[in-house]
């Protein structure tokens, strides 16, 4: 068993290694854009994190797209997830199949097919088409998470509300939604994370618009400036903090 333990830690170390390299080189006192050899410790890149206008612009596009995706996919996915968990209806099988297909199709094929659609409609590519694509591949993940939660709900709570004279909308607003809110929240966080990290589908639907991952991709040949490391580190830190806070909050709630 000791061997398995050592092995597991070795795998974790291997997974974390590139992240550490990224973080460490954000503190590198490199003279130019060639940020691959250690030239001493500095904090100056944290002060100049927004010095490259096009990189900052790309980050802003990524954040806005991720935010809109989170809200839209959250709303549309919750509708589907709630309907699938609560009602039996004709067509639910087909809907499940399409959702399964969006989650298991190669991203490359989804991006390519969206590009063919946009090209044949002569639609201009940009932030709007990126968002359309991101909402498309996020909906199913939100729906699956919400459906799982709805399936475990105690229906008598909703019936009690109805017996006390609440209409369907009031019941949903005051009883059902608060109960499924944690699932909606994690679905939306997942949608945000999928969107901000997406490269493949975005590459096909962006046209000349640049997101954070696309900017990094375009700059690879020239060498990545330390600002990329700093932004990557800040996004990483924010993600870790949010994840820890969410899990602590749910742990506290379970204790009560």
């Amino acid at each position: 068993m000791r061997m398995l333990r050592v092995y597991t830690w070795a795998v974790i170390a291997w997974l974390t290694l590139p992240v550490l390299v990224m973080i460490v080189f954000g503190f590198n006192d490199t003279p130019g854009r060639y940020n691959q050899t250690w030239d001493g410790f500095t904090l100056k890149w944290y002060g100049r994190v927004f010095a490259l206008d096009d990189l900052t612009q790309a980050l802003v596009v990524s954040l806005v797209v991720a935010l809109v995706t989170m809200l839209l996919a959250g709303a549309l996915g919750t509708g589907i997830g709630y309907a699938l968990g609560r009602f039996r209806f004709r067509g639910s099988g087909a809907l499940n199949l399409v959702m399964f297909a969006t989650m298991s199709s190669p991203e490359l094929v989804m991006g390519a097919s969206l590009l063919t659609l946009f090209v044949s409609l002569d639609a201009g590519l940009g932030a709007v088409t990126i968002t359309i694509a991101h909402v498309m591949f996020s909906i199913s993940f939100v729906a699956v998470i919400v459906r799982a939660r709805v399936l475990t709900l105690d229906r008598s709570l909703e019936e009690a509300a109805a017996d006390l004279g609440a209409g369907p909308w009031t019941t949903f607003r005051t009883v059902t939604f608060p109960l499924i809110r944690p699932a909606v929240g994690s679905g939306m966080l997942l949608a945000f994370a999928l969107s901000i990290d997406d490269f493949v589908v975005t590459n096909f639907t962006a046209g000349t618009t640049t997101t954070f991952p696309l900017w990094i991709w375009g700059a690879t040949r020239l060498g990545l400036p330390p600002q990329v490391n700093v932004m990557g580190t800040l996004i990483f830190a924010a993600g870790v903090v949010i994840a820890i806070a969410t899990s602590m909050r749910s742990r506290l709630r379970h204790r009560v």
């Binding site: 333990r5 974790i12 992240v19 691959q36 609560r86 199709s105 359309i132 901000i196």
Partner: protein, 284 residues
């Protein structure tokens, strides 16, 4: 009457979105792959299946290479992920959640950035090979970047958590009493593993393969960042046919071929393992 309409009203916006931006594009792409023409003068649907024949003939090496790389990566992933999932599920104790969190930690960094980070680590005089060469442990001409090992290694690195998690979920569900029963009946540890634990973990392995083989075979980031012209995968070809050459019929035909091959692979695999495994995965 209103009640019967409720589910349809709920699924309407999301369902329409999926129809318009997933189903319709697939149909458009299939149609475009059978059209002839060019970007300037437009395309006409001619049912030109020859595009498929030509495209596959021209890029069969890259297509085959992608499937081979994907298959190797998936097999290594099963072997690499199983012990981790096993240890966390059976010996993780109270810190299970912490271990899973540590496995997912790299995912807070962009996929492209992580892959480029590997390029820095593996580059010829870089962080890893530089010191080893200086110490005389490796010949000066030794390199990893640009080889299949680097590309497949990148695929394994990027998809490892997608294999660990489903196997972990399957192992976690095993009733410890079943394992104890095997022991009480004098099964050796290896026999217990082979006859009890592993078969019960198979749905997890299946889900893991589904979540890694398809994205690994169709990936083009790893081969572009870590590979060379001798490791080109079909994803790179499709990407450049679409975005560089604007050769839409060929690109669409290749995308469709790739998806068809992967789907056939997945279904053949599902039949071999029993269809209820697929259903259980899609239920989740």
């Amino acid at each position: 009457m209103r009640r019967r309409l409720t589910p349809y009203l709920l699924i309407l916006p999301g369902g329409l979105w999926l129809l318009l931006f997933f189903v319709v594009p697939m149909v458009t792409m299939l149609s475009l792959s059978l059209q002839e023409g060019d970007v300037v003068s437009g395309y006409v649907l001619t049912g030109h299946w020859q595009t498929y024949v030509d495209a596959i003939a021209a890029y069969r090496t890259q297509l085959a290479r992608s499937l081979i790389y994907g298959a190797i990566a998936t097999l290594v992933l099963i072997a690499a992920a199983f012990p981790v999932a096993y240890w966390i599920a059976f010996h993780g104790g109270r810190r299970k959640a912490t271990y899973l969190f540590l496995l997912l930690l790299p995912f807070f960094v962009s996929f492209v950035l992580r892959t480029i980070s590997w390029r820095y680590i593996l580059t010829d005089e870089g962080l890893l090979l530089g010191p080893l060469k200086d110490a005389g442990l490796l010949p000066p001409g030794f390199h990893v970047l640009g080889t299949p090992v680097a590309v497949i290694g990148g695929l394994i690195y990027n998809f490892l958590p997608f294999m660990v998690l489903p196997i972990y979920v399957a192992l976690e569900r095993i009733d410890p009493r079943v394992v104890e029963a095997a022991r009480d009946l004098y099964a050796a540890p290896l026999v217990t593993f082979a006859k009890v634990v592993f078969p019960l973990a198979l749905p997890g392995v299946f889900a893991g393969v589904l979540m890694t083989f398809v994205p690994a075979s169709s990936d083009y980031v790893n081969s572009a960042v870590l590979g060379s012209s001798s490791t080109t995968m079909i994803g790179q070809v499709i990407q450049s046919q679409y975005l560089v050459s604007s050769n839409y019929p060929t690109a669409s035909a290749l995308s469709f071929t790739l998806m068809a091959v992967l789907l056939i692979g997945v279904f053949a695999y599902a039949r071999a393992l029993g269809t209820d495994a697929v259903m259980r995965v899609s239920e989740r």
